[in-house]
Symmetry: none
Amino acid sequence: MGRKKLKLQWIANDSTRRSTFKKRKQGLMKKISELNTLCGVEACAIVYGPYNPQVPDVWPSPSNAHRVLTRFKSLSEMEQSKKMVNQEAYLKQRMVKVREQLKKQQRANREEEITQLMNRALIDKIGRILKDELKDLAWMIDEKMNRIQERIDSLRNTTESPPQLINGTGIQMAVEMEDAQRQTWLMNQI
Amino acid sequence: MGRKKLKLQWIANDSTRRSTFKKRKQGLMKKISELNTLCGVEACAIVYGPYNPQVPDVWPSPSNAHRVLTRFKSLSEMEQSKKMVNQEAYLKQRMVKVREQLKKQQRANREEEITQLMNRALIDKIGRILKDELKDLAWMIDEKMNRIQERIDSLRNTTESPPQLINGTGIQMAVEMEDAQRQTWLMNQI
DNA sequence: GGGTCTATATATAAGAT
DNA sequence: TATCTTATATATAGACC
């Protein structure tokens, strides 16, 4: 189960074999754990690794495995084992519960985090956008004002009616825009 | 791994549990076989089924397993404890991993959510903010207009007919949006 | 119950970092 | 080398017989 189909034979490459061993051992232990939890069954696995051939990896636990082993040799002490299994199952179930609780908690936290992060990011972004946009607006206003000023100045020297001023400016656009329009415009700005 | 995600807990339904047990035991044995083949490692699994609690299923073979188990037993408890995977530690480790994975997942989700929420909230908020800002702008414009008005007034004292000024401009529109009365007044004044 | 058949969930081989 | 990521191969839950 991987990028390629692996031939079922001894893996010659050392590092590859090590890696595969590690991964598969972990998967195996998980499987045993699951079998134990799902079916309430006693089980153990003993694996002699390539590193230290004298000390095997064992699951579920040394004593547990030892017990299973003993039982394998002399079929007895059924009741005690059953109790132990129940204990284990109980422990695992508790873990599951804790895990679920954690999930819930984190989900709640996440909402909070989202809000906070959003507020911050939002403010930053708005700050920048407004700064730029208002800068432009201010500039435009100044421009318009200057032109108006010029007109006023020229008025001093003549009695003729001044022509219409200032049409289709950015300010006009910004101010005239409907909310929906502005939002669309903002979207492009962002 | 099936049609639905199975919760990691004791399967209450009897037939379902039996079925699952059977399938999983088979899979487990296969896994051990593969580990043995691929990594040239000695390993065995012992599973006490729910049917005959006295006779466990064993792999590779009872005798083979017996050898492995005997070897296991010969080790001192101290040595075993060192390398063995104790159940609690294993579960804790898994918890941590699950937690981390969860975090990762949530981080990814959050980014997505943030993006989506931000796009919407950002636009809304900016819309509102910009609206406020424009209100301020209008005020500033108004101020400037007042100053201009003063000049125009003084100009009117020295000329016959005050010329029309600033008609249909963006600035006017801006002011208009804020206060229609002011516009009328301004028009009249000018 | 015990086999057979998919749609999905998982495990994991290679590759990327 | 260890770890993380991704594309695939496997395992298996639920449905059906």
